[in-house]
Symmetry: C2
Subunit: 468 residues, 2 copies
């Protein structure tokens, strides 16, 4: 189950060697250099095998490889892989157009995804709403779902009832392609209308949305990010002529002649980086075209900063092939993601995908797993939500209702029930033992209060079970 056991699934020498290299520096750190990859993609790049490696696929982010703002079980897979294979996936932040100079310019992949003129958008549908924006008039998909997701990846042999194990071998910031900012990466933090703070501001003007641009070192040598400047959102007119008074549609280009940049902010403040994927998960079975915002039993937008390098995620498979996608990449986030977003920053991740068949799970930590489970070197982290499977729990209107039902209290209850299940099922404890142990040794934290289906995570140290 742990990362250091990662050659157990039918690995051959080539894959073993890759992983050996990947594990050299500081635990689980893959060097993309050793794979012969450039970490900047090309808009013409096609998903496929990585030259010079075996069973390692590369999925660039382009207008032809992303689905924006939704999950769908009907999407055609970009690649089909076998259990044990590696896949490197580029994720683009949907906030890149908050500062196109720093996050899009010169980057063919990002340019293809964000391209938008009077006639045409590189990616038209953004969100799970109607293609013809008859609901709000914001744009195709209506922004009901916002994350640029790269995928899906089809995993041979993964069937409903199985578990997909996703080992996060490497996570790297996407270097800025604009020569002016060589060696740096950038991210955007939006304190937006869906944030927990929005109706609870002290100072004028109220309410307001504020974008803060952060920079980090693309080499990964520095472990902090710094603010560059911030600006208050002003009504932005998109190339189709729609005015966006608030941040109601993803990827709207911000015209910097219309905003006031405040530089010199957050002086001497260093934000510890925690690169991770806000969205990582599988296509759900219960509905098609599902809003990417609320997390669910198959993962998705969990927004737990622990889902980074060296961690392993386990997801219940809901559809044939599992259909994994990655997006909403973050350079750093606090537990709660208070203001609505993290440091939204394009990242590239390398994953090993392993199918755990339903009939092999008894006696393992995956037995009966019906929620996304995170394993780190030292901990198990279970993810609870306001509604564990809101698509079923809230009926046919679930995708709108979930936003009216958000509750940390309910997410706490779900996390409690899941940890009890985990301790009873996989550790063989009685209910009395499980409940006592939870009270004295399990930590419950607030994952996020901004994704409709709010999250509470429960963490237990593995060393607790190492006694003799």
């Amino acid at each position: 189950m742990s990362a250091d056991a990662s050659v157990e699934n039918g690995g051959h020498e080539g894959r073993r060697d890759f992983l050996k290299g990947a594990l050299t520096a500081g635990g689980v750190v893959a060097s993309l250099a050793t794979t012969g990859l450039s970490s900047v993609s090309n808009a013409d790049a096609q998903p496929g095998m990585v030259p010079g490696t075996k069973n390692h696929y590369y999925v660039p982010a382009t207008d032809r490889t992303v689905h924006w703002g939704y999950f769908s079980k009907s999407l055609k897979p970009l690649v089909e892989v076998n259990s044990g294979d590696f896949v490197t996936i580029e994720a683009l932040t949907h906030h890149a157009n908050d500062d196109a100079e720093r996050m899009i310019k010169g980057d063919p992949g990002a340019e293809s995804v964000f391209s938008w003129d009077k006639q045409r958008k590189g990616v038209d549908r953004r969100g799970a709403g109607p293609i013809k924006p008859t609901l709000f008039g914001r744009g195709a998909g209506e922004g009901l779902g916002v994350h640029i997701c790269t995928g899906p990846v089809y995993v041979h042999g993964a069937a409903p009832g199985d578990i997909l194990e996703v080992r996060i071998v490497d996570v790297r910031p996407r270097p800025c392609a604009n020569p002016r900012y060589k060696g740096k990466s950038f991210g955007s933090n939006a304190a937006a209308w869906w944030g927990f703070h929005y109706k609870d501001l002290l100072t004028e003007p109220k309410p307001r949305e504020v974008i803060t641009i952060y920079e980090l070192d693309a080499s990964g040598e520095r472990n902090w990010a710094q603010a560059v400047y911030n600006f208050q959102w002003t009504p932005q007119t998109d190339p189709f002529g729609v005015v966006h008074k608030i941040i109601d549609y993803p990827g709207v280009p911000v015209d910097h002649r219309t905003v006031k940049e405040n530089h010199g902010i957050l002086k001497n403040v260093r934000v510890p980086i925690r690169p991770h994927f806000g969205v990582l998960g599988l296509a759900p079975a219960e509905a098609d075209i599902v809003d990417s915002i609320p997390p669910n039993y198959v993962g998705g937008n969990i927004d737990d900063w622990r889902i980074g390098r060296g961690a392993t995620m386990y997801y219940p498979v809901a559809v044939p092939g599992a259909l994994l996608s990655a997006g909403d990449s973050h350079a750093a986030q606090g537990d709660s993601e208070l203001a609505g977003t993290a440091i939204e920053c394009s990242l590239t991740g390398t994953f090993q995908l392993i199918v755990r068949k339903k009939d092999t799970l008894r006696g393992t930590a995956l037995n009966g797993l019906n929620y996304p489970l995170l394993e780190t070197q030292d901990e198990w982290v279970l993810h609870g939500f306001t509604y564990p499977n809101y698509l079923v729990d809230l009926g046919p209107d679930a995708q709108s209702k979930i936003y009216e039902k958000s509750s940390v209290d309910l997410a706490m209850r779900d996390a409690f029930r899941k940890m009890r299940h985990f301790l009873m099922t996989t550790k063989g404890l009685s209910e009395n033992e499980a409940i006592s142990l939870m009270s004295v040794a399990v930590d419950f934290g607030i994952t996020q209060v901004v994704d409709g289906n709010w999250g509470v995570h429960a963490t237990i140290k593995k060393s607790i079970f190492a006694g003799g």
Copy 2:
């Protein structure tokens, strides 16, 4: 503000030397041996100066030095100390009678506090209810408040509007005084009717209350606790003849002939110890005889396991002399204290108390502080509650109403507001800067969901502000 600056307040050589000794081993660890103290108290012990030291007071736990289940601004102080003085306080767990053989027998202090026969209780009032138990007939004070609190300590010069800084220099488990269990300490975990799990059980009988007895090493060499046995609560008849069907009154002796002890539970499970004071705080001004269970702006039953050795707490002073008490000592607790209690275990703490006068706070992290603030070596931790000052917020019936209003969602909002205040007031950030930083670098966790006034804590790393 940090522990290593602890001689700044008028220290003389004697105190400096004590602290120097205290800081020798592993950061902030006082050796009680160097103070000439025995860590086991005597029922005849009186609060007072510690022989061989200067300005170090010792407050044993006896029937004459504890207030059980309530705070009160009218209590006569046990000792009066000056700013900068040290005080060692014994705290007894109110769950000691769950297993008197292991937690009371042979310990004169505990025996005096828990003594109860047909005629007389060592400590009659237990809780903030009426002395004549006309409400529920449970006993004096009606168990409306449960913690055995040792104190109060009066600090000269502390006035309303000031801050009392409480440096936790040392925390030690109270050794079992029964020769049969030499070298061990014990604690009790009650999965009780006020727990988050109680109405949400899977297995029969439902509902039920379960006590789990844990043991730990009294020397502190081992950093884990282990379960010894558990039993289901059965109706217990107290010495006055009142039957307690559930755990509705603190300190009721459990007759072990009436319960079934299950040994061999939680096999191979080691619970990391986190010795701390569940209750540490000051007398509030808003009411007299205040239930010890809901935490408040002056601290009290915060139940944050970080309030242990090496940490410093800052409390707003509400009454002259501050009136500090300690109790509800815990060997370990998880964030949320899910089932209602921690490993409730008698501990002895050594504290340095420093008055921070109102007019000296500008430009410090204490400016405008109106909530309990925790400082550790690496972090600031702010405590939010469902209602920040429930005694005022909920009006005259606050002490009963608070139990109907419990909410993590509201505690999250309070923690957000407090962290914003902290960042704006003490770090000089604008509201926009503070909100962005909270979203990308502050972690919100669930302190407890069992104390009426539920808690969310917000943690920020100090190193964030160390950049240049």
